[in-house]
């Protein structure tokens, strides 16, 4: 047994955190969110070479694996940084295996996204149908990064078989409608394909989607971990300055206990997330169950702790000026993103061998 990240991983986490602090302080991020345009962040993220971290070299990435991706997700959330494009890309990119051209374009900043609803477990989305000419027709609501993606990886059914096909988002047959989320650090869009041209992707669709599901669970859980850890920091800071009846509120047992319970959740979340990441990365036979447990537990705890943090802040936390609500909304969305706890609990229940 060995219970810590490697020095390399710690160094990476630190470097990325520093980069975020420099490039995307909250004051700047708020500007991007208010103007509803986060492209500045996204291009800088690509330009500074972070996009390929955690992506296998075979996919033109910089190596590393799901643990590095989880570290990235955790830090992005901790900074309340935009992450729809990044998440969509790392989930979809394995579908481009063997397509050097597309991979190069992707890590050059041309986002690729799975054409599935953002709120379902990726491999449970209903596949679309392809006609003989390879044209695809169908509507998919709430696609992560659906509004900005340059290409879509489309789960489709061809002669009764599940395949993945590539659709150019700029094809005339593609219509997309941005949907505004309460959490503006992520974005979705409804996408309608009307006889959109598509080309085949030579990967095992079932396998790619199953992997995407497990990876999505881990990365959304990591996001919730980052947001929760940050909310705990904010709550503790606040409770060390704010006084009531002449004493710091942090000295009230009710406040102290609430903060300590958040700490317990964060501690558990960290173990669960990185265990699941290692398990999925190592293709452990129970990997999917570990990922499911991480998604169900950590995102649910995130919601619980978001409420605690809000309560610990009092009314100040409800004001637009205060940063808490950025993380609060992020934690809330993480609960639904890529499948609500209930859906993942179904998987876990199977693990219980209940009829």
């Amino acid at each position: 047994m060995h219970w810590k990240l490697s020095d390399e991983q710690n160094a990476y986490q630190e470097a990325f955190r520093d980069w975020l602090a420099g490039v995307a302080p909250l004051s700047i991020i708020r500007g991007w969110l208010d103007s509803d345009d986060v492209s500045a962040f996204e291009s800088r993220f690509v330009a500074d070479d972070w996009a390929g971290v955690g992506v296998a070299e075979s996919l033109r990435g910089q190596g590393g694996g799901l643990v590095e991706l989880a570290l990235t997700a955790e830090e992005l959330a901790r900074a309340a940084a935009p992450s729809a494009t990044w998440l969509a890309t790392v989930l979809a990119v394995p579908a481009l295996a063997g397509r050097a051209d597309l991979l190069a374009a992707t890590f050059g900043g041309e986002t690729v996204a799975l054409l599935v609803p953002a709120d379902v477990i990726p491999d449970t989305a209903a596949p679309l149908t392809v006609d003989a000419s390879g044209a695809i027709t169908g509507a998919v609501p709430r696609v992560l990064a659906g509004g900005t993606a340059r290409r879509f990886v489309v789960p489709a059914r061809e002669r009764g078989e599940l395949v993945l096909r590539l659709v150019d988002a700029q094809d005339d047959g593609v219509r997309r409608t941005r949907r505004r989320l309460l959490d503006r650090t992520r974005s979705i869009a409804d996408v309608v394909l009307d006889a959109a041209a598509s080309e085949p992707l030579s990967v095992d669709g079932t396998q790619v989607l199953r992997d995407a599901a497990a990876r999505a669970a881990v990365l959304v859980a990591a996001d919730a971990l980052g947001a929760t850890a940050r909310m705990l920091e904010l709550a503790v800071e606040y409770s060390k300055q704010r006084k009531q009846f002449g004493v710091l509120i942090g000295s009230f047992q009710a406040v102290k206990h609430a903060a300590a319970m958040m700490l317990v959740d964060v501690e558990a979340a960290r173990s669960v997330v990185y265990f699941a990441a290692a398990s999925v990365a190592g293709a452990d036979p129970d990997a999917l169950l570990h990922a499911a447990a991480a998604k169900a537990q950590v995102t649910a705890a995130g919601v619980r702790d978001a409420d605690s943090a809000l309560t610990l802040h009092g009314a100040i936390g409800y004001t637009w000026e205060h940063d808490l609500h950025l993380f609060y909304k992020r934690a809330k969305l993480d609960e639904q993103l890529c499948g609500a706890p209930g859906k993942w609990n179904d998987l876990i229940a199977d693990g219980l061998a209940l009829v």
Partner: protein, 400 residues
């Protein structure tokens, strides 16, 4: 920037148990399985010590799992000890099984680290072979959780000490030949530091000087919990562990391991309850349909499974840190909180899954439920864990 970016990575965090650990786990589970739920139900109802069980583990050499080899043990760490107690508890033996050997597993730590060679030679081998039962005499009614407030006093008298005082919640005192007894040799008010002036003994529980009264309690009834009234107990100085006045420090070493082991027992209990719930959910049919098909039953159990798994990870991390000589107070306390919480919740849900039958002792979940509740208050309450984390990890100011 690039310098910090990882290139190809090796396996990161290795969560696999070692082969030794897997073997221990398997062997313990097999041996414990020889004692079924009926055995524990009978012992619990009869308030009778599980001698057969205890002796089986003694014969198997398990009681010495952490005892150094030169004293007949195996010299394993807390990780292995935790696995042992977790499996013992998970077998359905629960706290009755775990408490019957809990102290033999790690309670002698102060003796091992600070005891005289003579004391070790005399006692440790007998602990390992199961012949010697020892109880842990620390808690006092007046002291709450601040051990420095104990008042049981050991007065030096020639080569002996004469001890008077009162202890409470002493597990297994009825069944024990000796007691690991914490006393004050300097009164609290006279001590320079409040942690000074405490002295630890390993000595005989002389029934003529110590009145032992079992406490009537809600569960874990196969192993007694007792009040001790100590009246002029004469103890030779040779029974003292380490230096006079240093007892508190010796005890302190053991606090985190204690919390980790209790966490492991809670975890095992939760596993046992969940196993029963799943079995009942699959077997019990209402209108030709197993009740396990109901989401209303499935989700809480699935959630409990995930919580137990999460708690287990934190526990493993804590024991790993301890065995690797790293600080682990944060993780040990978090593990205790999470395991006690998840364990009780699993037991509660298992009982609920059984409907009316859950209330009947014959389905055993009622026993698990009664035992699991204990772990939210012992060895320290969940609230005390939160106080610790709030004050020492989050550095929040002193409470009101």
């Amino acid at each position: 920037m690039v310098v910090a970016k990882p290139g190809r990575m090796d396996a990161v965090v290795d969560f696999e148990l070692t082969e030794d650990q897997q073997t221990i786990r398997k062997a313990v589970a097999e041996l414990a399985a020889k004692f079924d739920d009926e055995y524990w139900l009978a012992k619990d109802e009869a308030h009778e010590f599980p001698t057969e069980f205890y002796e089986a583990f003694a014969r198997g050499g398990w009681l010495g799992i952490t005892t150094p080899e030169e004293y007949g043990g195996h010299g394993f760490g807390i990780t292995e000890a935790a696995l042992l107690l977790e499996e013992v508890s998970a077998s359905g033996g629960g706290m009755n099984a775990a408490s019957s050997m809990h102290l033999s597993i790690f309670g002698m730590h102060p003796v091992i680290v600070h005891g005289s060679e003579e004391l070790k030679r005399e006692n440790l081998p007998r602990i390992v072979n199961g012949d010697l039962h020892v109880c842990f005499g620390v808690t006092e009614p007046g002291a709450g959780l601040d051990t420095t407030r104990i008042t049981t006093f050991a007065r030096r008298d020639g080569d002996d000490y004469v001890i008077n005082g009162r202890k409470v919640w002493i597990s297994k005192a009825m069944e024990s030949e000796k007691v690991l007894l914490l006393t004050r040799t300097t009164k609290f008010e006279d001590a320079k530091k409040k942690t000074d002036g405490l002295t630890l003994f390993l000595t005989d529980l002389d029934r003529s000087k110590v009145d032992i009264r079992p406490i009537r309690k809600m569960g874990r009834n196969a192993v007694s919990s007792n009040e001790l009234f100590i009246d002029d107990l004469r103890v030779p100085a040779a029974h003292r562990i380490g230096e006079e006045g240093q007892g508190f420090r010796y005890i302190l070493d053991g606090l985190n391991p204690e919390r980790m082991l209790v966490a492991a027992e809670a975890l095992g209990l939760g596993r046992a309850a969940l196993r029963r719930a799943v079995r009942y959910g699959n077997e019990r049919e209402v209108f030709g349909r197993p009740i396990g098909m109901n989401q209303g039953l499935q989700f809480p159990l699935a959630d409990s499974l995930a919580r137990l798994d999460a708690a287990e990870l934190v526990l493993r991390k804590a024991t790993w840190l301890y065995d690797n000589g790293k600080p682990c107070a944060r993780e040990a306390n978090t593990a205790k909180y999470l395991c006690a919480d998840a364990g009780f919740q699993a037991a509660d849900r298992a009982l609920q899954t059984h409907g009316g039958m859950g209330y009947s002792e014959e389905y055993h979940v009622a026993r698990y439920f009664r035992e699991a509740r204990l772990l939210k208050i012992a060895p320290l309450s969940q609230e005390m864990v939160l106080n610790f984390l709030g004050s020492h990890v989050l550095n929040l100011p002193r409470s009101y």
